[in-house]
């Protein structure tokens, strides 16, 4: 509650000052745990009130278009993410602090070598069509995702699983054998947008899940409506009658106008600088997430000049991270140390990257790369992303490096995805080893840095065979040391996501996954 006092004080200023916000958040102790609902707030908004039932929540999310889908496992746009996380649930999820918790699973028991899992499932859960949720649905879902003829987005994550030999022990128990040790199965399947559970015989034309809201209507690039599922397994939830996701806005200004004009209740993934336009008494407030999202620069470790570890190190040292956060993110972020998995219990926070231009210059000189010129292939996928490239180019000058920015359209960027020598990408928070499988192994589909380090690969295999979390954490820390010393990622910051909303919207909590609206917590949202 202390945080709230500080926040209210800052409201005395006409405009909301973000520096106060960050300072107060830092006082808040555990990271930015306190920086939840911020500006334009009256005291009343913080008062604990009983949630009210009913109402239709209208949510504007930009980035939608004709590629929108309701398929549980081929999510493509930001509004898709919102839809998928409304309709479906996974066996596990990450809570607002990034901690792994069970959802449709009741327990996971590995064998000693992490080559077999016994999964017990929650009872009393039904799909939107009334079918009871059973073990067969989990087997079906896994096989649908990993189908070798049509592998879906989660297929990489499930690669170790021996899909043909999943055994249904009873209605609520499965035995899942794996081809290679797979200690991180429970955390891997926490990505609901890859591993949402669908019923046997699932057809995306009839999108049925176990989530708090069920499908009502859907028009790609325009609007989709989801009604409360009365048979939802969490008693008393959800509160809202319906969630309406509107993604016909093609630009942020239109979405913000819609919010100001009262046409929508929420504008998710808002442009960061818009928070400054939220003034007291304007009827709007902001939900500021905890830092979780990250927008790394990728240096391809197999092409010149980035195949030289000195160059990679120099580039990491020349970044003034706080300045980058201030200038490209309007201050909404915390300093990163080039290692991902920020909220993984095994994360090594003792690794700190200084801003050291002299050392950067020295390394560049040592490796014969004085007056280096590189091309940075930048793309504007998220608030602040293109600006971060500009700031980086400016900062590089101090070390005598010329960075020419090639600003790509989204389609041009993706048409050569994973091949750019020096580029940007984005990630939401996932636990460390899960990201490794996706990003830094020779077999990873998103290995944008073309990282292939024999020792690192061996450590990964070792970690996957350790069922004891603390032993696994030791190996993870060794891997992170390699990331920190030699890797191709520059992670200047962990960013905060901002959603703007009308003052009467309640129940969303600040989360650190990097997704909007407290990891799309529609289940507990309500309208005052």
């Amino acid at each position: 509650m202390d945080d709230n006092k500080i926040h209210s004080q800052s409201l005395l200023q006409h405009r909301f000052g973000r520096r106060d916000l960050l300072r107060s958040a830092a006082i808040g102790g555990a990271g930015l745990a306190g920086a939840a609902l911020l500006p334009g707030l009256s005291h009343r908004a913080f008062a604990a009130t009983t949630p009210k039932k009913g109402g239709d929540l209208r949510v504007a999310i930009t980035g939608g278009g004709s590629t929108d889908t309701l398929d549980a496992h081929t999510m493509n746009t930001s509004p898709d993410l919102a839809r998928v996380m409304t309709l479906y649930e996974g066996l596990t999820t990450l809570d607002n602090d990034g901690k792994l918790i069970n959802v449709l699973a009741e327990s996971f028991e590995p064998n000693a070598t992490a080559t077999e899992w016994i999964i017990k499932l929650r009872k009393g859960v039904t799909f939107h069509n009334g079918k009871p949720f059973k073990a067969e649905d989990v087997a079906f879902t896994f096989r649908r995702i990993g189908d070798p003829k049509n592998p879906l987005q989660g297929a990489t994550g499930l690669k170790p699983v021996d899909l043909d030999n999943i055994q249904i022990i009873d209605d609520h128990t499965l035995r899942v054998p794996t081809k290679t040790p797979f200690a991180t199965l429970p955390e891997t399947v926490s990505a609901v947008y890859y591993f949402g559970i669908v019923p046997v015989g699932y057809d995306p034309k009839n999108p049925v899940g176990t989530g708090p809201f069920k499908y009502e209507s859907f028009t790609p690039g325009q609007q989709s409506v989801f009604k409360r599922y009365d048979g939802y397994w969490q008693a008393g939830l959800p509160y809202l009658d319906s969630v309406i996701i509107i993604d016909s806005f093609q630009n942020d200004t239109a979405a913000f106008n819609a919010l100001q004009g009262g046409e929508v209740d929420i504008y998710a993934y808002a442009t960061l600088s818009l928070v400054n336009q939220i003034t007291q008494g304007g009827g709007l407030k902001a939900l500021v997430s905890k830092p979780g999202l990250y927008v790394p620069f990728y240096m391809r470790t197999d092409v010149a000049p980035f195949d030289d570890v000195n160059v990679r190190k120099a580039f990491r040292l020349l970044v003034d991270r706080q300045q980058l956060i201030d200038q490209s993110l309007s201050g909404y972020g915390i300093v990163g140390n080039d290692v991902f998995g920020r909220w993984d219990p095994a994360f090594d926070a003792s690794l700190v990257r200084p801003h050291d231009v002299d050392q950067a210059k020295f390394l560049l000189k040592k490796s014969g790369h004085e007056n280096l010129t590189v091309e940075l292939s930048s793309v504007d996928l998220l608030p602040g992303m293109a600006q971060a490239a500009q700031v980086f180019a400016q900062q590089a000058k101090a070390a005598g490096v010329t960075v020419n920015i090639r600003q790509l359209t989204t389609d041009a960027y993706y048409s050569n995805y994973g091949k750019w020598a020096f580029t940007q990408d984005y990630w939401v928070y996932q636990p460390y080893l899960t990201v490794v499988a996706l990003a830094t192994l020779p077999t990873s589909p998103y290995n944008g840095t073309h990282w292939n380090n024999a020792k690192y690969n061996g450590l990964y295999d070792q970690a996957q065979s350790l069922v004891d979390a603390s032993k696994r954490a030791e190996v993870i820390r060794e891997m992170q040391k390699i990331d920190f010393e030699e890797g191709g990622f520059i992670i200047p910051s962990f960013n905060q996501t901002i959603d703007l909303m009308a003052e009467n919207v309640q129940g969303f909590e600040s989360a650190n996954t990097g997704n909007a609206l407290g990891n799309f917590g529609f289940v507990k949202a309500w309208l005052a």
Partner: protein, 326 residues
């Protein structure tokens, strides 16, 4: 009574123009298809985004026939289109024609309202200005038109939003949210700002056109004659001057309509209006070739038709041109 109207010649002219129009549409479809081939990426890439493995991408390409040679893809599409099948969207598997007709109806409503309100307004203002040449109304209207012509329509749109919808007043909705499956008339207020923006955008051109040709006509000898005969000013302007001034303006109106068919893209972007332009932008981003082809062909056909119509009307109202066809 004058010369008999050469109907058969007009019919021949019409037939030739229609054939030429169809030929241009075919060419348009080839050019558009070629352009989509030259852009980086394809529909499979767009659907998969960053989320797909190479295997997934390949499977999808095969499924969408994107692995076939470009010529074969074009032939398949054309064959379908000529038999009345506009195809299935590559990215969301829905029939293209369903998605387009709804948006088309919205855009057409917008366009029709703009033309029905904006053109008469501009004509009336133009005539009035011509009749009161160099007097305060003319000077003011001309200056205003010049100023408006210099402002891009998205600036006009944003200014209107700021003034009427968000910052100053809260009278009108700042965005045009239309529930899919309902008509834009379900909430007519949605239309006010987009229509106003486009009217302001087309006003200067039409106004200046009609004013200039009206002044030309009013300066001509036969009008002087009519004035000397003592006819009323009103009669002279409406009955004698206007028919001659309107012919060049019809071309201007046709051009304006053609411009509106494409120019509404900007307004749809600013207001989030669910029209054909917005659908087209989204389809281009997704490389949804059947959708792009169908939408572009409809817009091109509209453009061709409007020009043809304008030529016909111009011929009908201009005695000189009427005889030239014989």
């Amino acid at each position: 009574m004058g010369r008999p109207f050469p109907r058969h010649l007009l019919a021949r002219l019409l037939a030739r123009r229609v054939l030429l129009g169809l030929l241009s549409l075919l060419l348009v479809s080839i050019v558009v298809f070629a352009a989509t081939q030259m852009l980086p990426g394809d529909a499979a890439r767009a659907v998969v985004g960053r989320g797909g493995s190479p295997e997934h991408l390949e499977a999808l390409r095969h499924q969408l026939h994107l692995d076939l040679p470009a010529i074969t893809q074009y032939r398949l599409w054309l064959g379908g289109f000529l038999t009345g099948d506009a195809g299935i969207s590559l990215v969301n598997g829905r029939p293209v024609i369903d998605a387009i007709t709804v948006r088309l109806a919205n855009s057409f409503t917008l366009l029709l309202l703009v033309v029905l309100i904006g053109i008469p307004l501009a004509i009336a203002a133009g005539i009035t200005a011509a009749m009161r040449r160099n007097r305060p109304f003319d000077t003011a209207a001309s200056m205003l038109a010049l100023a408006l012509a210099a402002i891009p329509e998205f600036v006009i749109g944003i200014a209107l939003i700021v003034f009427f919808a968000t910052v100053v007043l809260h009278w009108l909705p700042p965005v045009s949210m239309v529930r899919p499956g309902t008509s834009v008339f379900a909430r007519p207020l949605n239309l006010v700002l987009p229509v106003a923006t486009l009217i302001i955008a087309i006003f200067p051109y039409t106004f200046r056109m009609i004013r200039a040709s009206m002044i030309d006509v009013l300066d001509s000898e036969y009008i002087e004659m009519a004035t000397l005969k003592g006819l009323s000013r009103r009669r002279i302007v409406l009955l004698h001057a206007l028919p001659n001034a309107i012919a060049p303006t019809i071309q201007a109106i046709a051009l304006t309509c053609g411009y509106l068919a494409g120019g509404c893209v900007v307004v749809e972007y600013v207001f989030g209006f669910p029209g054909i332009g917005q659908g087209l932008v989204s389809a281009v981003l997704a490389r949804d070739i059947p959708y792009i082809q169908c939408a572009v062909l409809i817009l091109a056909a509209f453009y061709v038709a409007v020009n043809l119509l304008a030529d016909l009307v111009a011929i009908l109202v201009t005695p000189k041109l009427r005889s030239a066809t014989s």
